[in-house]
Symmetry: C2
Subunit: 122 residues, 2 copies
DNA sequence: CCTATATTTCGCTATTTAACGAAATATAAG
DNA sequence: CTTATATTTCGTTAAATAGCGAAATATAGG
């Protein structure tokens, strides 16, 4: 039960739901998620570590950057089915639509520049 | 998004998950849920009101008793599909198995007697 | 090696929330 | 009408948690 509750608690926060929905379109770098959510890097990092503990996402390190993606549906069907069901329910929610738009923009932005902009803020 | 988050937050608490799983077997009186969860009546009542706000359960009053049940799957498919998916993931979780056992017992107990026993405690 | 960059960990504060008991409400029974 | 019963609402307290900034860690580049 603990495992399942960890998943449900992880999905009980709006910003974490925004993260997993964003990752449905493919893996993202932490700095892209920071730019999307407009939260402090440490806050986003904490959200990601909770999502990872719940086996909703996994990460890979490439050079200075960490990339996060949803876990494999074959290995973690519960997690992915929940995400998909939530995603379809939120398809036209304004916040989610805005996030999709912003993500497109971000994917066109050079990542070096993006990260630098975020670091300046602090 | 608010509506969906209300559902996910409601499902992010172990005791509330236990309630909705219990209600899968049919409607239950508040005093039965109190006996199941072993929590104060006011606490159970608060959980139920959160579940109702999220449209996961609905209630009906009959005399002195309030009966709660899951909402209709046709009207609230998201809620019911989530409950079903969670239920299947928790099918063999020890706590859930114990709850099922206890519920059988409770369904055989006279409800007047059950309620009285609970009231004595406070 | 030294500096800049990207992310994570840690310590703290503010907010949320689960839990309880007491009081309020509603209904049934005498 | 009064009392007992079942549930809900309210006020309070304790615990959990989201958020931030500072410090720590890790990697890339000069």
């Amino acid at each position: 039960m603990r495992d399942v509750m960890d998943i449900l608690k992880a999905l009980g926060d709006e910003n974490r739901v925004r993260i997993v929905l964003a990752l449905q379109h493919g893996e993202l770098c932490v700095c892209q998620l920071i730019a999307l959510l407009q939260l402090a890097p440490s806050t986003v990092s904490r959200h990601l570590s909770l999502l990872r503990a719940a086996r909703l996402v996994e990460s890979r390190k490439e050079g200075r950057w960490s990339y996060y993606r949803l876990v494999d549906a074959e290995k973690y069907p519960l997690q992915i089915e929940l995400v998909q069901r939530i995603s379809s329910a939120l398809e036209s929610a304004s916040r989610v639509v805005m996030d999709r738009k912003k993500l497109e923009e971000l994917s066109r932005t050079d990542m070096e520049a993006l990260c630098r902009k975020i670091m300046k803020k602090s």
